[in-house]
C-alpha cells in the first residue's frame, strides 16, 4: 500500500444476523460490482475485496496474483499504462496499481484471486468503520499497510476473464431510482408524496457511507404527526425524511432510526447508490412490488449468465489446497 487515496477498506457482502446486537451490516455498497469482480478472479461471490472510493489509491504488488477491478471507472493504471476494468489480469511482484482520475461513478472494487486475508469478526470480513472492528484491524487502509491474499497462487489461471460490458449498469450523473413507497408514506402530506416523485434532487457533498443526503424541495410531514417515530430497524435504501424535510437515503452503516421513511429504493437499484457523487441529479420513480421483483431477477440473470459462461470447470468458488 503506497497511498490509500480518499478511502479504501476491506469489505465483503456484509455482516448479517447481528442487527439484534445493534451491529450494522457494513460491507460493499455496490454488491453487483463486487460479486462480478469475485467471479472474474475465480472466487466465491461473497469473498472480501477492497472498496476504493474516488481516486488516489496506489498499490505495489508483492506476489504473483490475479486481480479484477469493477464498479466505477477511477482511471485504473497498471505500471503507468491505462488498464481496462471489468476484466481479470495477471500481475507479478513489482507491478504498480493506481487509480488516477474519476471518470464515472464513485466506488471501484478490487478483487484478488483467493480473497483477502483478514480475520472473520461476527461472521464477516467487512470493516465497521464507525465502531472500528472487522476488516483490516478495524480501520481503513493507510500508506505502509501490507495486505495479504489468501492462496492467490491457486487462482492465477483466472486471468483474462471479462464481463459483458452491455450488462454493466450505466453510471452517469443523472440517476433514476425505482422505489416502493413506505413504510410510513401515509404520514406525509399528499404534496410531499408528489414532490418525491416529481422533483429533481441533487446529491449533497455531506454524503458518506452512512447515507446520501439530498438537496432539493422539502417534503412535509402531516400536521397531525409527531416530530419523530418510535425507533425501529432500517435497511439500506430506506429514504428517511428528518424535520428539515430533506431526504436522506440510508446506506449500510445504520441499524435503526426514529425518522419517518417515505419510500425505499428497490433491491435491484441499491448498488447504484454506491456510485453517486456530490452534484449528481436524482429522480425517484414509484414501482410495484411485482416490478421490483422483475428488476431483481434481471440483475440476477446477468450474474448467472457470467457464472454459466465461465463454466462449471472454472467456477469452483474459493478452492482449498490439495490435501498432502
Amino acid at each position: 500500500m503506497i497511498s490509500p487515496g480518499l478511502l479504501t477498506a476491506v469489505q465483503d457482502l456484509g455482516r448479517f444476523g447481528q442487527a439484534r446486537y445493534g451491529v450494522a451490516p457494513s460491507g460493499v455498497l455496490d454488491a453487483f460490482a463486487a460479486r462480478v469482480g469475485n467471479l472474474l478472479v475465480d472466487n466465491l461471490e461473497s469473498e472480501a475485496c477492497l472498496e476504493v472510493t474516488l481516486s488516489g489509491l496506489e498499490l505495489g504488488v508483492l506476489a504473483d496474483l490475479v486481480i479484477a477491478v469493477t464498479g466505477a471507472d477511477l482511471g485504473l493504471h497498471i505500471n503507468d499504462r491505462p488498464a481496462r476494468i471489468w476484466r481479470s489480469v495477471r500481475l507479478v511482484p513489482g507491478d504498480l496499481i493506481s487509480f488516477r482520475a474519476v471518470e464515472f461513478g464513485c466506488r471501484a472494487y478490487l478483487t484478488v484471486g483467493g480473497g483477502i486475508e483478514v480475520p472473520v469478526v461476527l461472521n464477516s470480513r467487512s470493516t465497521n468503520l464507525g465502531s472500528g472492528f472487522g476488516g483490516f484491524t478495524g480501520r481503513a487502509l493507510q500508506a505502509g499497510d501490507i495486505v495479504h491474499g489468501r492462496d492467490p497462487e491457486l487462482h492465477l489461471a483466472a486471468a483474462g476473464r471479462h464481463f459483458d460490458l452491455n450488462a454493466v449498469p450505466a453510471y452517469a450523473n443523472d440517476w433514476r431510482l425505482r422505489v416502493l413507497l413506505g413504510p410510513q408514506e401515509g404520514q406525509f402530506r399528499q404534496t410531499g408524496l408528489q414532490t418525491l416523485q416529481q422533483a429533481v434532487y441533487s446529491v449533497s457533498p455531506r454524503s458518506d457511507r452512512t447515507g446520501i443526503r439530498l438537496e432539493g424541495p422539502v417534503i412535509r410531514t402531516r400536521a397531525d404527526q409527531p416530530e419523530s417515530i418510535v425507533s425501529e430497524g432500517v435497511v439500506a435504501g430506506a429514504i428517511q425524511v428528518p424535520g428539515d424535510g430533506k431526504p436522506i437515503i440510508i446506506l449500510n452503516e445504520t441499524v435503526s432510526g426514529g425518522y419517518r421513511k417515505i419510500a425505499t429504493v428497490i433491491t435491484a437499484d441499491v448498488p447504484l447508490l454506491a456510485q453517486m457523487v456530490p452534484g449528481d441529479r436524482v429522480v425517484f420513480q414509484a414501482v410495484t412490488l411485482w416490478e421490483a421483483r422483475e428488476a431483481l431477477w434481471r440483475v440476477e440473470e446477468n450474474i448467472a449468465r457470467l457464472r454459466n459462461r465461465l463454466g462449471s470447470d472454472t467456477c469452483r468458488g474459493s478452492r482449498t489446497k490439495p490435501v498432502e
Partner: protein, 233 residues
C-alpha cells in the same frame, strides 16, 4: 395497546416491519420479544435478519427465496401460538456509574432544568429498574425505559460530535449507554467503566432486548480501578 393481528409495513422489496402495537409499552415490547424469538427458532435461510424494535420486528428476507405472502404465513403461524415462545429468562445487570463532573457534563444542567439538586437527579436515575426495549443506533446501545418523570429532559439542542464510550444519557423518558464513542444528542449524566460491546465476545452485546438494568452510583476514584465481577452475568 397491543394489536390482535400483526400489522405490516413494507420497507422496500426485502424488508418487512411487523408492528404489534401502538406507542411504547412493556406489554407490546414483550410481544415483539416473543415473535422475534419464535421466528429466530425457525432457522430459515430465507430470513436474513431479525431486529426487534420497541413495537415492531423488522424482518429482512431474501425475496428470491421466499415470497411476501409465504413470509406473512410464517409470521402469522408464530403469532398464533406466541405464548409457546418464551424468551430466555432476562438478565438483570447492575451498571456502575460515576455521575457528574467530566463524566457527566449535563448533570448540572438537568438538575437546574428541574430545580433539583444533582444528588436528587442521581437518586431518581439510579432508583428505577429499566427494561431494555431494543438494541440499536450503535453496536450494543441499549434503549432503556422509563426514566422517572421528575427528571425527564429533552435532548440537547446541539448534539455532540463525540460522546465518549461508556457515557450514560437521558432523552425524555429514555435512558441509554453509549458502548462505543459516537455522535450523540442525549443529556449525559455520567459514565460507566463497564464494556457493553466487544466484537470478540459471544454474544458481542452485554445486554439483549428484554433484559433489566439498574444503575449503581460509584465514586469518581473508583472509575479507573473498577473490575467486572465474574459472577455478575
Amino acid at each position: 395497546m397491543c394489536y390482535s393481528e400483526p400489522r405490516y409495513r413494507l420497507m422496500g422489496d426485502r424488508a418487512l416491519l411487523v408492528e404489534l402495537g401502538e406507542g411504547i409499552g412493556r406489554d407490546i415490547n414483550r410481544q415483539v420479544q416473543k415473535l422475534f424469538f419464535g421466528l429466530d427458532q425457525l432457522q430459515t435461510g430465507a430470513i436474513r435478519e431479525l431486529q426487534p424494535g420497541y413495537r415492531s420486528l423488522m424482518v429482512v428476507y431474501d425475496p428470491l427465496q421466499i415470497s411476501l405472502p409465504a413470509l406473512k404465513t410464517r409470521i402469522e403461524g408464530v403469532f398464533r401460538s406466541l405464548d409457546r415462545f418464551q424468551p430466555p429468562e432476562p438478565a438483570h445487570l447492575q451498571v456502575p456509574v460515576a455521575y457528574g463532573a467530566e463524566f457527566g457534563p449535563d448533570l448540572q444542567w438537568v438538575a437546574e432544568h428541574h430545580h433539583l439538586s444533582t444528588a436528587e437527579v442521581i437518586r431518581y436515575h439510579s432508583s428505577a429498574t429499566y427494561r431494555v426495549y431494543m438494541i440499536g443506533f450503535t453496536p450494543g446501545y441499549p434503549y432503556l425505559g422509563e426514566v422517572p418523570e421528575e427528571i425527564a429532559t429533552p435532548r440537547r439542542e446541539t448534539p455532540r460530535v463525540r460522546v465518549p464510550k461508556g457515557s450514560v444519557g437521558i432523552a425524555q423518558l429514555q435512558t441509554g449507554i453509549y458502548p462505543v464513542e459516537s455522535p450523540g444528542g442525549w443529556q449525559i449524566l455520567g459514565r460507566t467503566p463497564m464494556t457493553l460491546f466487544d466484537p470478540q465476545r459471544r454474544p458481542p452485546s452485554l445486554l439483549q432486548a428484554g433484559d433489566r438494568v439498574t444503575f449503581i452510583p460509584i465514586a469518581h476514584e473508583e472509575f479507573d480501578s473498577w473490575k467486572p465481577n465474574p459472577s455478575s452475568k
